[in-house]
Amino acid sequence: MDGFISLLGDYAVVEAFWTNIRLAFFSCIAAFILGFVLALFRISPVPSLQWVGTAYVNTVRNTPLTVIMVMGTLVIWGQLNVTFSSDFETNFFILAVWGLSLYHAPFFCEAIRSGVNTVPVGQAEAARSIGLSFLPAARLVVFPQALRGAVTPIGNTVISLTKNTTVAAAASVTDISAVMQSMIELNPNLMIYIFLTVAFGFCLIVIPIGLLTTWLSNRLAVDR
């Protein structure tokens, strides 16, 4: 056990977790924006935009995240020489954020769309009949209810995104799973402790998000 305490000092466990949290934070924002745009595309009455939204969602959600990450490093960076930063580490970090965002955007898109679907048609009809035009009706009546209805699926997507930040290890980011791998390699006798520390860390991050989601969705539930 003493060896384990000193091991925690040798490795940047907290920093590695911080990398995962930063990855999750930036990817969540980017994926949500992209997912929102995709949802607008899919809801819009414009056929070509609908097609783009549906095609993107169906393609990306069927691709393994690992494939996307590997494509980012080996193809986008390695073959096509696209760089986001002169700093090696920052470059891979940004690549991983892009990979995570592109992969999770369809999940956010579907979450938002399912929220929009919970709004009864009568709400939009009532909004129009009191004279609201398209934008005010969307902004004041439909979207506030839609986002409330989408709280649970959005929360679930945030949780899985947070867990999926570990896949950034495939894009050469020294995240917690990469640190864990090298820790175990050099200290195999402490394997169990190392695993439980990392696992417990994730429980500490993921379970509060789950509780917050449940609390929010109950609190914000639209009474119908």
């Binding site: 494939v67 073959q79 929220g115 989601t213």
Partner: protein, 311 residues
Amino acid sequence: MSSGSVLFDAPGPKARRRIFITNMIAVILLAAIVALVLWQLGNQGQLAPHRWWNAVNGTAWQHYLVPGLIFTLQSALIALVTSLLFGLIFGFIRLMPFVPLRALATVVVEFFRAVPVLVLMVFFYSFFSLVVAPTGAMDARDAPYFSVITALTLYNGAVIAELVRSGVRSLGKGQREAALTIGMTRGQSLRLVEIPQALVVMLPALMSQFVIILKDSALGYIIGFAELLRYSRQLGAGYGNIMQSIVIAAIIFIMLNFVLTWLTQILSRRLSSRTSGDTTVENPGMAKQTLKDPSRSSRIREDIGIAEDKP
């Protein structure tokens, strides 16, 4: 409302013209983006026919894609069966009235749902290769294979345990009450009456879980499991067409999952006439699209937080 969308009223002549113009602009923009990407790829020599041909010719299939695909499918199928067993056992325990055991099962299920699959894989890989293999119980070269299956089993088993629980809950308490009335114990009622019905209800959800398992098996790449992605990378390294071979691997994954999702939807329509439970299923890991009806089924899904996805 002919369009079926809450936001948009049925378009009149003016709106129709506006939709037409937006559509044209979007098509032109889209074509421009595609052309730009292709032009850039062409400039870098990535569109050279031999590069693509080397990724899909007989040699590529025979020595790289088929062997990789076999390992991917094999590990995913085995993991599906074992996680189903795990899920049935833990789902059963979570429904039993014995509180300490139930609490233990809850902790186990919640733990494996919270820990990322990759972390589980890395741990079991080290465990199998450093602890089990030296005892001679396992060949060290098989460690990645078994760790992929174990990690997938634990995570997806925990998800399936929740599916079992929610499936049984969706039946309504009348089934259990009837079973208890004719003299069955709680265990018998679960085993003989409730879980068999819940399984029919669950079948489509189970199939969509298979898509998630299939996608997750690609995580094995990171710990050195020779699955489709790793074989494709080797193919690309050998023939200097890394982009093309990884794109082919991605297309294979996409088509497999697409077919599976499609079958799931057919199955869920078929089964809906055979059970009183709710067989509708969302796309794998996706929020369910219930149209204007936040009914019983969608609340059950939200209740257990099924919109869980993995890479």
